[in-house]
C-alpha cells in the first residue's frame, strides 16, 4: 500500500539573475547605515591598522569614524576651504589632506591642529598620499604639477609637471618608496620614479582619468575614467589587458577587496559593480545617489560609499556568529531537550537499530485533497499569504484539481468575495508564461460558470473588464513580437552565406 502522494509544486527556474557563490558572498551585508555629511563625500580611506577606523573627507572637514560608530570619533575642521583626499600613512598615525586653496596639511590622528603645512601648489590639491617609506608625501594638483614633499623638514623635494591637465588620481606603490602612479584629465596615466625624477611609463586611457589603483602585486594597474575601467599590465610595459564598460556614467572610484582580489568600481550611475578575477560582473550594489568615493575595509568587513548628496553609506558584513546566537537562544527552551532526547545516543557495534517510521506531514491543501474536499483545497491555496508569496503553490493546486477533473466543481458555487480573490489572482499572473496555461483554463471555467450572474456584482464586472484589457494588451504584444521575429528571420536568412544553407539549420539554443 502506498501512502498519499502530495501535490507536486513544480520548481520553475527563476528568470533573471543566477545565484552564485559570489552573489551570496556580496549579498551577505547588513542594510547600509546612512550618515549625513556636510557636503559631497570625495574621499574615504581606511586605516591600515585595526580597528580600521576610516577617514571621510567631505566639504571642509575630515571625520574619522570607528568601525561601528555612527558618530565621528575625531574630526579635523581647520580647513578654510573644501578639503580633499584625506589619506592615512602606512602606520595609521598620520593623515594628510589637500584642500581647495592649494595647501596640504598633515595631521596627527590624536591631535587637532595640523603638524605640517606644505605650501607651493597654486591651485586646488585634489589628491595627496604618503609614499611607502612614510617620510614623504606626494600630491597632485590642478596646477598640472605633481609634487613630493619631505615630512620632517616640510620642504618640496621635487615637482613633476608632465601632465597637461588636472591631476585627479594618485596611487603610491607599496613595494617601492620611489614609485607612484598618477592619472590626469589629459587622458593619460603616468608612472613616476623619484629616482629618475620623471615618468617611466605613460598609458593612454582615452578619457579623463578619475581614479588609479594598483594591485597588491603591483603588476596590474586599474584606471577609471569616462565609462571605462581599464586594466594595464605593468610588467608588459603598460599593455592594456582589458577594458571594461559596465557603467553607463563616469566611473569615479575603484577599490580592491582583500578577499580574492575582487575589483569594485563605483560610478555616477549610482551602481557599484563587483568583478571577479576574469573581469566579469558578479554582483551589483545600488545606491541612492551618484557615487564619488568608495572604500572597503580589510577582510571586507565594511564597505563605505560616499555620494554626491553628502550621504555616507556604510555596509557592515553579516556574521555567522550573529545568526548562531540567535538560533541557539531560540533552541534553549525546554522543548529542545525533549526533542533531542536520545538523539545523541551512539549505537554500539552489536546493537540492532530499528528505525522509527517517518510520519508523513501533509500540507493543509493536501489533506483536503486527500479527503476529496476540492473547494476547500482551492480556498486554502488561495489564502492571502500563499497567493501573494507563493503563487506557484496556488497554481500547483489548480493543476492538480484539473488533473483530477474537479476544477469546475472547485470553482463553482462561490460568492462575490472569493470570486474577487480568484479574479485578482488571475489579473496578476495570467500573463506569466509559467502559469498562463492553467490560469487561462480557470478563466474559461469561471466565465462559463458565472456568465448568468456577472451583471449582479459591479465589483466582479469591473475586474472582468480589467482582465479583458490585460489579455487584449498581451495578445497585441505577442503579435508584435511575432512580427519582430519574422523580420529577424528574413535578416538572418539574407545574412547566411548561400552555399551553406543546408548545413546551418538553426542556431544552437543553450
Amino acid at each position: 500500500m502506498a501512502s498519499f502522494k502530495p501535490t507536486k509544486v513544480q520548481f520553475l527556474p527563476k528568470l533573471g539573475e543566477k545565484v552564485t557563490e559570489e552573489t551570496l558572498y556580496w549579498k551577505n551585508y547588513k542594510s547600509p547605515v546612512q550618515i549625513k555629511e556636510f557636503g559631497a563625500v570625495t574621499k574615504i580611506d581606511f586605516s591600515p591598522l585595526p580597528p580600521h577606523n576610516y577617514a571621510v573627507t567631505a566639504s571642509t572637514r575630515i571625520h574619522i569614524y570607528g568601525p561601528h560608530s555612527q558618530e565621528p570619533i575625531r574630526s579635523f575642521t581647520r580647513f578654510r576651504d573644501t578639503a580633499y583626499g584625506g589619506s592615512f600613512r602606512g602606520d595609521g598615525k598620520l593623515l594628510v589632506a589637500g584642500s581647495e586653496e592649494g595647501l596640504i596639511r598633515l595631521f596627527d590622528i590624536s591631535g587637532r591642529v595640523a603638524l605640517r603645512q606644505f605650501a607651493g601648489h597654486s591651485k586646488a590639491v585634489h589628491v595627496t598620499s604618503f609614499l611607502s617609506d612614510g617620510f614623504r608625501v606626494v600630491s597632485g594638483s590642478d596646477d598640472l604639477s605633481c609634487r613630493v614633499w619631505d615630512v620632517p623638514s616640510a620642504v618640496e623635494l621635487s615637482s613633476l609637471t608632465e601632465h597637461t591637465d588636472y591631476i585627479r588620481a594618485l596611487a603610491p606603490s607599496r613595494l617601492n618608496p620611489d614609485l607612484f602612479v598618477t592619472g590626469s584629465y589629459d587622458h593619460t596615466v603616468k608612472v613616476f620614479d623619484m629616482r629618475s625624477g620623471s615618468s617611466v611609463m605613460t598609458m593612454q586611457h582615452g578619457h579623463p582619468v578619475e581614479c588609479v589603483l594598483l594591485y597588491p602585486s603591483e603588476a596590474l594597474l586599474v584606471s577609471t575614467g569616462g565609462r571605462y575601467v581599464k586594466v594595464w599590465d605593468l610588467l608588459k610595459g603598460g599593455q592594456e589587458l582589458v577594458s571594461l564598460k559596465n557603467h553607463h556614467k563616469t566611473v569615479t572610484c575603484a577599490c580592491l577587496s582583500s578577499v580574492g582580489n575582487k575589483l569594485l568600481t563605483g560610478s555616477l550611475d549610482r551602481h557599484i559593480k563587483v568583478y571577479n578575477s576574469s573581469y566579469k560582473v558578479v554582483h551589483n550594489f545600488d545606491c541612492d545617489a551618484s557615487i564619488l568615493s568608495m572604500a572597503i575595509a580589510p577582510d571586507d568587513e565594511a564597505l563605505a560609499v560616499g555620494m554626491t548628496n553628502g550621504v555616507l553609506s556604510v555596509r557592515h558584513r553579516k556574521h555567522q556568529k550573529d545568526k548562531e546566537t540567535l538560533t541557539s537562544r531560540r533552541r534553549r527552551g525546554p522543548s529542545y531537550r525533549v526533542f533531542v532526547k536520545g538523539k545523541n545516543f551512539m549505537p554500539r557495534e552489536d546493537d540492532f537499530l530499528v528505525s522509527k517510521p517517518v510520519k508523513q506531514y501533509l500540507r493543509k491543501y493536501d489533506k483536503q485533497l486527500k479527503s476529496f474536499e476540492v473547494s476547500k483545497a482551492l480556498d486554502t491555496a488561495l489564502q492571502t499569504w500563499t497567493r501573494t508569496s507563493k503563487p506557484d503553490v496556488t497554481v500547483a493546486v489548480i493543476i492538480e484539481l484539473n488533473r483530477r477533473g474537479t476544477l469546475k466543481n472547485a470553482l463553482a458555487g462561490r460568492n462575490e468575495e472569493s470570486l474577487t480573490k480568484i479574479l485578482n489572482f488571475l489579473l496578476k499572473h495570467i500573463f506569466d508564461p509559467r502559469f498562463s496555461r492553467p490560469l487561462l483554463l480557470v478563466g474559461d471555467i469561471v466565465l462559463d460558470l458565472y456568465q448568468q450572474v456577472f451583471h449582479k456584482s459591479p465589483v466582479v464586472e469591473r475586474l472582468l473588464q480589467r482582465l479583458m484589457d490585460v489579455l487584449g494588451r498581451e495578445a497585441e504584444l505577442q503579435q508584435e513580437l511575432l512580427q519582430v521575429l519574422g523580420i529577424l528571420d528574413t535578416l538572418f536568412a539574407s545574412l547566411t552565406p548561400r552555399k551553406e544553407v543546408a548545413a546551418l539549420a538553426a542556431p544552437p539554443v543553450a
Binding site: M1, A2, S3, F4, K5, P6, T7, K8, Q10, L12, K18, T20, L369, K370, E400, R403, R404, G405, L441, A502, A503, A505, A506, P508, V509, A510
Partner: protein
C-alpha cells in the same frame, strides 16, 4: 503451427494471476491462484512462488478447495476437465473429463462429491448462454474418469463467476444476471427470482455485479453497478422479501465477500479501496485505501485471519485481519496497451515496460518475477472511470544503464496535451533510478521518438516531435554560471524543411545520427551538428530506422509504410538493396549483426532474421502468430548457447521476445535449450531434497563411479546427473514427508540399505539378524502408517510404488534391498578394482 525447424514459439511467463479469485489454504500457509493454464502456489508468508500445478491444456478458469479434504484442490479449465490436485506437493490426483469448456467451479460442504460448473449452453443461437450444472464426480480409483452425470441447475447465469454464490450451509445457491436475482433452494428444488428496475428516479444503475451469501445467516449481499450494496433478507418467501442498501463505492462493486464467521462483509471496486462493513451494524465500516489497481476479487482464509485481494494490475495483496497489508504478490503488469517499447535494463537485464498507471515495471524474465515499479509520474492516482490520466508513453535507456529518459503524457484524447520529459540517473546506493531533470516544455508538440547516443564518453539524448524539430539534450556545464551541474539542457535544435520527423537512431559508435523526416532520412554529425547527407527512397513514410551493428555498421536499414525494406551503404551513400515486404517491427540484436523483422501479411505474422550485408534471410518463421506485432526485444542470454544449427544460430547470444496484441509475451526457443531446461528441472527435483551433505557426497561419488562403469558415453555428459544409485533412497526422498513414518524408524532401514553388503561372502548368521531386524522395522512402520491421518490415503494412491510398499513392507523392502545390493555390488567391484 507450422513446425519447420527446431525453433518454436513458446509462451513465456508473465501470465495473469488475477483472472479468478485466489484462495488461501486452510492452514493459511499457501495461496493458490489460476494463472494461464496452470495453478500457481505461493507462500503467504514469504510471497515466493513455490511451484505450479501443470497439466491443463487451456486456460484454468476456476479453483476451489476440496471441502472433503483440505489438502486438495479442484481446478477447472476451458479444456473441459476438472482436476484434483495435492497442492502441497504438486501432484495430480485425478482428472475428471466433463467434455464441455468450463468457466467456473463452485463447491459446497453439504454437497460432497458434487461440483457446480459454468458451461456454455449447447444451443448455439444465444451467444452468452451460460448454464450452471451440477456434476456428480464418480468415485473410482482410476486416474482419468469421465464424469458425464450432468444436471442443470439453471440457465440464467451471468458469465461473471462472482455472480454466483452458495448460501448458508449449502442450502441454496444464489445467482444473478443483469437485473434479476435468483435463489435456488436445493430442498424445495425451486427457484425464486427477484428483479430490480434498470434505473430509478435518481439515475441509479441497478444491474448486479457480484453476490455473496452470509455463512450462518439467511442474508444475501449483492453489489451493483452504481456502487450500492444491497443486503437481501427474508427471501425464502417470494413476496415478502426485504433489502437494505449501503452505499460507499462511487463505481461498480466488483467483489463482495463475507468473513467465515459472518461478522464482516468485505467489498472492493475500481477505487482500489477495500471496505470492511460490520455485519448488522448499518453503515459502520473500515477502509483500506490505495492498494494498487482496482480490486477484482476478494477472498478470505477459512479461519478469517487473512484476506487476499487481487487487482487489475496483476497483483495479489495479502491482508491481515487487523487490516494491514502483509504481503504483495506481483505478476507482470499488463495494462491496456504497452505504450513504451519493450526495453532491457542494461544493468539488471530486466524487461522494462509500462506497468501500473504512471509507472515503469522491471520484470526479470529469467526468474519470471516482478522486480520493482519505478514511479514516473509521482502523483496521487485517482481511481475514476473516464479520467484522463498521465501515462508513460516513451522510455529509453542509455547503453550502460546510467540514464533513463521517460516521457509522460496526458490528454491524448482532448486537444489539451500535457507532457513532461524526465531524465533519471541511476543511484548506486539505492539501486534505483532517481529523478535528475524534469523538462516541462521540451517541445511544443508530442514527442514521437527518442534515443540515447551509444558512445562511452558523453551521453546525449535526441528527441523528435510532431512540431517538425528534433532536439539534442546534453548533460553538462552551463556556460553562464561556470558551475559543474548535472542537469540536462538543450544542446541543438534541428529541422529539415519543416517536415515532421518520424524516427531517430544513432550509429553504433555514435558518430552519426539518422533522423527520418517523412520520406527522407537525414544523416547528421553529432559533433558539429552538420547535415552530412540525405537519403531518400520514395514512396512511403519511413516507419522504422536502425543502423547495422559490428561488422555491418556501415549499413542503415529502414522500413517504409509502402511495404519496402531498404538498406543503404553509408560509405557510398547508395542503396545497397531493397525488398518489398510489409514490416511492422524491425528489431536489432545488440550483440550480433542480426536484425529481426516481423512482417504482417494476410492475417498472420512472419518473422525474418537477416544480416544487413545480404538481402537473403538468415532464418524465417512463417505464421508466428495471427496478430500484428509491434513490440519485440532481443534479450541477452546469461550464458550463450553453442548450437551450431544454422537455423537457430541467431538465438545463441540473445533471445527474441515479442508481445502480441493480446498482451501475451512470447519467445522463440530452440530444441537444445528446451533439453537443457528439461534436464535442469529434473535435476531440480532431486536438488531440492538432497542438500550437499556428507551423505550426498557419498551418493555423488557413487554415482560418478557408476557412470564411469555403466555409461561411457552419455549424450549430455557435461551436465550433472541425478543420483540414481539407490531406488529406495529416491523413493524415500520423493514421498511426501507427511506420509512417511517417523525418521527414527526409517533411519536404521535407510542406513542398512546404504551398507555395502558383501553378498558373496555374507555369513548366514548376520543375514538372519538383518532380516529379522527389518521385519521388526516393517511392523513398526505399519503401525505408524495406521496412526497417520486417514485422508493421506488418497495422496498415497497417487504414489503407486509407495502404496505397494505399505501393506507388505518387509517383502518389498527385501526386494529393494536385493536390487540395491546388485547395483552396489558392481560399484563395490569398481572400488575394489581401483584400490588394489
Amino acid at each position: 503451427m507450422v513446425e519447420q525447424s527446431d525453433v518454436r514459439v513458446v509462451r513465456c511467463g508473465g501470465s495473469k494471476i488475477n483472472f479468478r479469485p485466489p484462495i488461501i489454504s486452510t492452514d493459511s500457509r499457501f495461496l493458490l491462484c489460476a494463472s494461464g493454464d496452470s495453478v500457481k502456489v505461493y507462500s503467504t508468508r514469504t510471497e515466493e512462488w513455490l511451484h505450479s500445478l501443470q497439466g491443463h491444456t487451456n486456460q484454468v478458469t476456476g479453483i476451489a478447495l476440496n471441502p472433503a479434504n483440505h489438502l486438495q484442490v479442484y481446478s477447472c479449465s476451458a479444456d473441459g476437465t476438472v482436476k484434483l490436485w495435492d497442492f502441497i506437493d504438486g501432484i495430480l490426483i485425478k482428472t475428471f473429463i466433463i467434455g464441455h469448456p468450463l468457466f467456473a467451479i463452485y463447491v459446497s460442504e453439504k454437497h460432497e462429491g458434487i461440483v457446480f460448473l459454468h458451461i456454455v449452453m449447447d444451443t448455439e443461437s444465444k451467444k452468452e448462454g451460460f448454464q450452471l450444472v451440477a456434476v456428480h464426480l464418480p468415485k473410482s480409483a482410476e486416474q482419468e474418469v469421465e464424469a458425464k452425470e450432468l444436471s442443470a441447475v439453471s440457465s440464467q447465469i451471468s458469465p461473471n463467476p462472482s455472480c454466483t454464490a452458495f448460501g448458508r450451509e449449502g442450502q441454496y445457491i444464489a445467482f444473478a444476471r443483469n437485473l434479476q436475482l435468483n435463489v435456488y433452494f436445493f430442498r424445495k428444488q425451486k427457484t425464486y427470482s427477484f428483479s430490480l428496475k434498470a434505473t430509478d428516479k435518481k439515475g441509479a444503475k441497478n444491474a448486479f455485479t457480484c453476490i455473496a451469501c452470509h455463512p450462518t445467516d439467511d442474508c444475501i449481499a449483492t453489489g451493483h453497478e452504481d456502487g450500492k450494496i444491497r443486503l437481501w433478507r427474508n427471501f425464502i418467501h417470494k413476496k415478502e422479501y426485504t433489502y437494505s442498501t449501503q452505499h460507499w463505492h462511487h463505481n461498480a462493486v466488483n467483489t463482495l465477500c463475507f468473513t467465515p464467521e459472518g461478522t464482516n462483509l468485505l467489498s472492493g471496486g475500481i477505487e482500489s479501496v477495500l471496505v470492511q462493513w460490520q455485519y448488522g451494524a448499518g453503515n459502520r465500516k473500515e477502509i483500506l485505501p490505495r492498494l494498487g489497481g482496482s480490486i477484482l476479487h476478494v477472498s478470505t482464509s477459512s479461519d478469517g485471519q487473512l484476506f487476499c485481494t487481487s487487482h487489475s494490475d496483476n497483483k495479489i495483496t495479502v491482508i491481515e485481519s487487523s487490516f494491514k497489508v502483509c504481503g504483495v504478490i506481483q505478476g507482470l503488469v499488463k495494462g491496456d496497451a504497452v505504450l513504451t517499447d519493450l526495453m532491457i535494463d542494461p544493468r539488471s537485464k530486466a524487461l522494462v515496460l509500462n506497468g501500473k498507471p504512471g509507472h515503469l515495471q522491471f520484470y526479470s524474465l529469467l526468474r519470471d518475477k516482478h522486480l520493482y515499479n519505478l514511479d514516473i509520474v509521482q502523483q496521487e492516482y485517482i481511481y475514476e472511470a473516464g479520467l484522463d490520466q498521465f501515462e508513460v508513453v516513451k522510455a529509453a535507456f542509455d547503453r550502460k544503464g546510467f540514464w533513463l529518459a521517460t516521457v509522460e503524457e496526458r490528454g491524448q484524447k482532448s486537444s489539451d496535451l500535457e507532457f513532461f520529459l524526465k531524465l533519471w540517473a541511476y543511484d548506486e546506493s539505492t539501486q534505483s533510478f532517481v529523478l535528475n531533470t524534469t523538462i516541462t516544455a521540451a517541445h511544443t508538440d508530442r514527442i514521437i521518438s527518442m534515443c540515447f547516443s551509444s558512445s562511452e564518453e558523453t551521453t546525449m539524448l535526441v528527441t523528435t516531435a510532431e512540431e517538425g524539430q528534433f532536439k539534442a539534450w546534453c548533460q553538462g556545464v552551463d556556460a553562464d554560471t561556470e558551475q559543474d551541474q548535472n542537469f540536462w539542457s538543450c544542446d541543438f535544435v534541428g529541422s529539415y524543411h519543416n517536415l515532421k520527423p518520424t524516427n531517430c537512431s544513432f550509429s553504433a559508435d555514435s558518430s552519426l545520427l539518422a533522423v527520418s523526416f517523412q520520406e527522407v532520412i537525414t544523416i547528421w554529425s553529432p559533433d558539429t551538428w552538420e547535415l552530412l547527407t540525405t537519403l531518400c527512397q520514395p514512396p512511403g513514410v519511413i516507419r522504422d530506422l536502425c543502423f547495422g551493428q559490428l561488422s555491418c555498421s556501415k549499413y542503415l536499414i529502414a522500413t517504409t509504410t509502402e511495404n519496402l525494406l531498404c538498406c543503404w551503404n553509408l560509405l557510398t551513400c547508395a542503396l545497397e538493396w531493397s525488398t518489398s515486404v510489409e514490416v511492422s517491427k524491425l528489431q536489432l540484436d545488440p550483440l550480433s549483426e542480426n536484425v529481426a523483422a516481423f512482417s504482417y501479411q494476410s492475417e498472420h505474422t512472419d518473422l525474418f532474421v537477416f544480416k544487413p550485408n545480404e538481402p537473403r534471410p538468415l532464418f524465417s518463421h512463417k505464421n508466428v502468430c495471427s496478430e500484428k506485432i509491434h513490440r519485440a526485444v532481443f534479450v541477452p542470454r546469461e550464458e550463450p548457447l553453442n548450437s551450431c544449427d544454422e537455423s537457430s544460430q541467431w538465438l545463441n547470444r540473445s533471445q527474441l521476445y515479442f508481445l502480441t496484441q493480446n498482451m501475451d509475451l512470447m519467445t522463440f526457443s530452440t530444441a537444445t535449450e528446451e533439453d537443457r531446461l528439461l534436464s535442469s528441472s529434473r535435476r531440480l527435483v532431486i536438488d531440492d531434497s538432497v542438500a550437499v551433505t556428507p551423505f550426498y557426497l557419498l551418493l555423488g561419488k557413487h554415482r560418478q563411479q557408476q557412470q564411469k562403469l555403466d555409461t561411457p558415453s552419455h549424450p549430455a555428459a557435461d551436465k550433472p546427473q541425478q543420483p540414481q544409485g539407490s531406488v529406495t533412497i529416491t523413493e524415500l526422498l520423493h514421498t511426501p514427508a507427511h506420509v512417511l513414518p517417523a525418521a527414527s524408524v526409517l533411519c536404521s532401514m535407510f542406513v542398512s540399505s546404504l551398507l555395502i553388503s558383501n553378498t558373496g561372502v555374507q555369513d548366514p548368521l548376520r543375514k538372519e539378524m538383518e532380516s529379522s531386524e527389518q521385519e521388526m522395522n516393517g511392523e513398526e512402520e505399519d503401525s505408524e502408517e495406521e496412526m497417520e491421518a486417514c485422508d493421506s490415503q488418497q495422496e498415497l494412491r497417487a504414489q503407486g510404488s509407495v502404496d505397494e510398499v505399505t501393506p507388505k513392507l518387509s517383502k518389498a523392502q527385501e526386494r529393494e534391498l536385493k536390487r540395491v545390493r546388485k547395483t552396489d555390488f558392481s560399484w563395490m567391484a569398481g572400488l575394489v578394482d581401483s584400490k588394489p
